[in-house]
C-alpha cells in the first residue's frame, strides 16, 4: 500500500510491497518485509536503520543484486515508469550502472585492486553506451575532475591502492554518475571514512545530485547525516519501514517509539552528566521472526494489540505515516 508523500514532482521510483527473503537451512530470513516508498525526481530520500534492519538489502533489491539463497518474492519496483521485476536478466543489466547506480560502503574493496582506474571507469561507460574508448576516456577524466580529484589524467593511470579512502569514494561516486542515472543508491558511503572527509564527501554528493537532478537514496544508521541532507526519511526496523515523512517532521515530531528512541540516544540530545538514554534490548534476529510488531519487546508502549502486525497509516504532519498501534503523534483518518 503506497502512502503517498506528496512528491514535489512525479516520482522517479515507486516501490510497492517489496519482500526479499533468504531461504537458508536454518529458516527463512525476511530481510525486506513489505517495504513501500517513492522517490521524486531530484529528491534525496534517507533510509535510516541499525544493522540488520534491512536497509542495505532494500538497496540491493532495487539494483537486482540479490544472490541465492535470497530472492525477491513479491512487490513492484517501478523506475521511471518501467517495472524492473518484469525485466529479464539482460534488460536488468542494461539498467544497472546506467539508469540506476549504487555506491557501496567500503571504498577499499569496491574497486578491483589489480585493475587500473581508467579501465574500471571506461568499462562502466562502454557497457552501456556505444562510444569510442577515447571518448569514454575523456568522459572518465571529466567525471574525475567533477568530483574534485586533481590531475585527473595521471590519476586515471593509477591503481586503487594508491588513493586514500576519501579519494576512492570520490572515484566510486564519479563512476556512479558516469552514465547520468535517474537514481543513485548510496549505501553508507561515508561510514568507513574519517569524520573530516565525511563532510566533504557529503557535500560533494549533494552538490552533484542537485546539479544533475539525480535522485538519491542515502542509506545510513546515522541520523545526524540525514538531518542536513535528506528531503524525506524512511525509518526501517527488522525489515519493515516503521515511519516515513519529511525530514523536518520526522526529526522534530517522531511518530514511532523506535524513532523517538533513536533520536534520544544521540549523545547531543542528552543532558550533560546524566546517563545516556538507550533503547533497551537488542535488535531481533530476522530468522523466523514471530508475528506482531517486531519492536514490541523493547517498546514501553506495548499492549496486547501489538501482537498483530500493524499497517502503515498516515499520522502527524502532512506526508508522514507510521506503522504502530500507539504512535507518539495522532493518527489521521
Amino acid at each position: 500500500m503506497i502512502t503517498s508523500a506528496d512528491a514535489i514532482t512525479e516520482p522517479v521510483l515507486e516501490v510497492d510491497g517489496l519482500r526479499t527473503h533468504f531461504f537458508t537451512k536454518a529458516g527463512v530470513v525476511k530481510a525486506v518485509d513489505d517495504v513501500s516508498f517513492s522517490v521524486g525526481r531530484g529528491e534525496v530520500l534517507g533510509l535510516v536503520g541499525e544493522s540488520g534492519s534491512g536497509k542495505s538489502m532494500t538497496g540491493y533489491s532495487l539494483m537486482g543484486l540479490i544472490d541465492p539463497p535470497g530472492k525477491i518474492v513479491s512487490g513492484s519496483i517501478v523506475l521511471d515508469g518501467i517495472e524492473l521485476r518484469t525485466l529479464n536478466a539482460e534488460q536488468q543489466r542494461r539498467m544497472r550502472g546506467n539508469r540506476i547506480a549504487m555506491i557501496f560502503q567500503d571504498p577499499m574493496m569496491t574497486l578491483n585492486p589489480v585493475l587500473r582506474i581508467d579501465v574500471q571507469m571506461i568499462e562502466a561507460i562502454l557497457a552501456h553506451k556505444q562510444v569510442t574508448p577515447a571518448a569514454a576516456r575523456l568522459r572518465a577524466r571529466d567525471a574525475l575532475s567533477k568530483v574534485g580529484i586533481a590531475s585527473p589524467d595521471e590519476r586515471l593511470l593509477a591503481y586503487p591502492h594508491q588513493f586514500s579512502g576519501g579519494m576512492r569514494q570520490r572515484v566510486a561516486i564519479a563512476i556512479a554518475m558516469l552514465n547520468r542515472p535517474d537514481l543513485i543508491i548510496a549505501d553508507e558511503p561515508t561510514t568507513a571514512l574519517d569524520v573530516t572527509i565525511q563532510g566533504q564527501i557529503l557535500y560533494e554528493i549533494q552538490t552533484l545530485t542537485r546539479e544533475t537532478g539525480t535522485a538519491l537514496i542515502w542509506i545510513t544508521h546515522d541520523l545526524s547525516v540525514i538531518a542536513g541532507l535528506a528531503d524525506r526519511v524512511c525509518v526501517m526496523y527488522a525489515g519493515r519501514i516503521v515511519e516515513q515523512g519529511t525530514c523536518e517532521e520526522v526529526l522534530a515530531n517522531p511518530a514511532h517509539p523506535y524513532t523517538r528512541g533513536l533520536l534520544d540516544s544521540v549523545p547531543a540530545n542528552n543532558e550533560r552528566g546524566k546517563r545516556l538514554k538507550q533503547i533497551p534490548g537488542m535488535t531481533p534476529s530476522l530468522l523466523d521472526l514471530p508475528p506482531g510488531c517486531p519492536f514490541r519487546e523493547r517498546c514501553s508502549r506495548t499492549t496486547e494489540a501489538c501482537e498483530v502486525s500493524p499497517e502503515m497509516r498516515p499520522a502527524g504532519g502532512a506526508g508522514q505515516s507510521v506503522r504502530c498501534f500507539h504512535p507518539l503523534v495522532p493518527v489521521h483518518g
Binding site: 533497551p280 531481533p284 523466523d288 519487546e297 517498546c299
Partner: protein
C-alpha cells in the same frame, strides 16, 4: 522495562566432550564414513595377513614355479583358487598383497611417527624460544620444503645406500619439515594466548610449558597433517620401491610387487601390477578421505 529478546538460534545442545563432538561431526559425512570403513578394512587385512592369506607367499616350500603367471580365478593345486592370479614365481597375488599391505603400512606409520616426534620437538622449541634458533630451524625447513620429496629421498638413498632402515631414515628426513612448520605456525598463535602468559607467571619450567600446555593446543592441525602424511609416506615408499631403490626384496611392499609386474604389462599379464596397485590406491584414497573430513571437523573456524 522489556527484557531482551532472545536471538533465535539452534536449540541448546546437551554438553559433549570435544572428542564426542568431533566424532559426531565426523560421522555426519557419508563420504568420510565410507573412507573410514575402507581404512579399517585395509588395516585389518594388514594386521591379520597371515591368518587370512590362502598361502604364505614367502614360504618357498609352498611355491611352485609351474603355477606362475596364472590369470585371476585360476584353480590352485590344493583346491581353492588363485583369486587374483599369480606372479612370476607362482605366488598367490592375494596373499602377496596382504603381506605387502603390512609392510607398506608399517613403514608408512613408523616413518610418520618418527618424523612427527622430531618435527614436533623442533617446531615447538623453535616457536617457544624464538630468536636465532627459530630463524635457523625455519630456514632449513623452508629450503627443504622447496625441493620435491622424491628428489630428497633419492639423494639420501644414493648417499646412504639401500636397506629398510635407510629407507625409513629417508622418509623421516623428508617428512619432519612439514610437521615442524605446521606446529610452529600453530604454536606462534597459541604463544600469544593468555593461558601461556599465566603459565609463565607461575614460573613453570620451559619443558613443562611446552609439553603440557603448548603441545595439546597445537595438536588438531597436527592430526590432520599426520594423517595425510601417512598416505604420502606410503606413496613415496611405493615409488622408491618401484624404482628399485626402496625396500629390499626380503621386505616386499606393494611398490615392489608393482615393480615386479611392470615387465609383464606389455604382454597382457596385467594382474601382477594391477591388483597391488588397486590395494595401494584404496589405502591412500581412504586415508585421504578421512584426513579431508578430519580437517573440516577440526577446523575451529568452521565450528558452528
Amino acid at each position: 522495562m522489556a527484557s531482551p529478546l532472545p536471538v533465535a538460534n539452534a536449540p541448546a545442545r546437551s554438553v559433549q566432550t570435544p572428542a564426542q563432538r568431533v566424532a559426531a561431526d565426523f560421522l555426519a559425512n557419508p563420504v568420510a564414513v565410507f573412507g573410514l570403513g575402507l581404512l579399517v578394512l585395509v588395516v585389518l587385512a594388514a594386521l591379520f595377513a597371515p591368518l587370512i592369506s590362502p598361502q604364505n607367499p614367502y614360504d618357498l616350500a609352498q611355491l611352485d614355479v609351474m603355477d606362475s603367471r596364472l590369470p585371476p580365478g585360476s584353480p590352485a593345486p590344493n583346491g581353492g583358487h588363485f583369486w587374483l592370479g599369480t606372479d612370476d614365481q607362482g605366488r598367490d597375488m592375494l596373499s602377496a598383497i596382504f603381506y605387502g599391505l603390512r609392510i607398506s603400512l608399517a613403514v608408512g606409520v613408523i616413518s610418520t611417527v618418527c618424523a612427527l616426534v622430531i618435527g614436533l620437538t623442533m617446531g615447538l622449541t623453535a616457536a617457544y624460544f624464538g630468536g636465532k634458533f627459530e630463524t635457523l630451524v625455519m630456514r632449513i625447513v623452508d629450503i627443504q620444503l622447496s625441493f620435491p620429496a622424491i628428489l630428497i629421498a633419492l639423494i639420501l638413498i644414493a648417499v646412504l645406500g639401500q636397506g629398510t632402515g635407510k629407507v625409513i631414515t629417508a622418509l623421516v628426513t623428508v617428512q619432519w619439515a612439514y610437521y615442524a612448520r605446521t606446529v610452529r605456525s600453530a604454536a606462534l598463535v597459541e604463544k600469544r594466548r593468555e593461558y601461556m602468559e599465566a603459565a609463565r607467571c607461575l614460573a613453570l619450567s620451559p619443558s613443562r610449558i611446552v609439553f603440557r600446555h603448548l603441545l595439546p593446543n597445537c595438536l588438531p592441525p597436527m592430526i590432520v597433517v599426520a594423517t595425510v602424511q601417512v598416505a604420502a609416506a606410503i606413496a613415496l615408499e611405493a615409488t622408491l620401491s618401484f624404482l628399485g631403490l626402496g625396500l629390499p626384496i626380503t621386505e616386499p611392499s606393494l611398490g615392489l610387487l608393482i615393480a615386479n609386474g611392470y615387465q609383464y604389462l606389455l604382454s597382457g599379464k596385467y594382474w601382477i601390477s594391477f591388483f597391488p596397485g588397486i590395494a595401494l590406491l584404496l589405502t591412500i584414497v581412504s586415508i585421504n578421505l578421512v584426513a579431508d573430513q578430519l580437517r573440516d571437523v577440526l577446523n575451529p573456524r568452521l565450528q558452528k
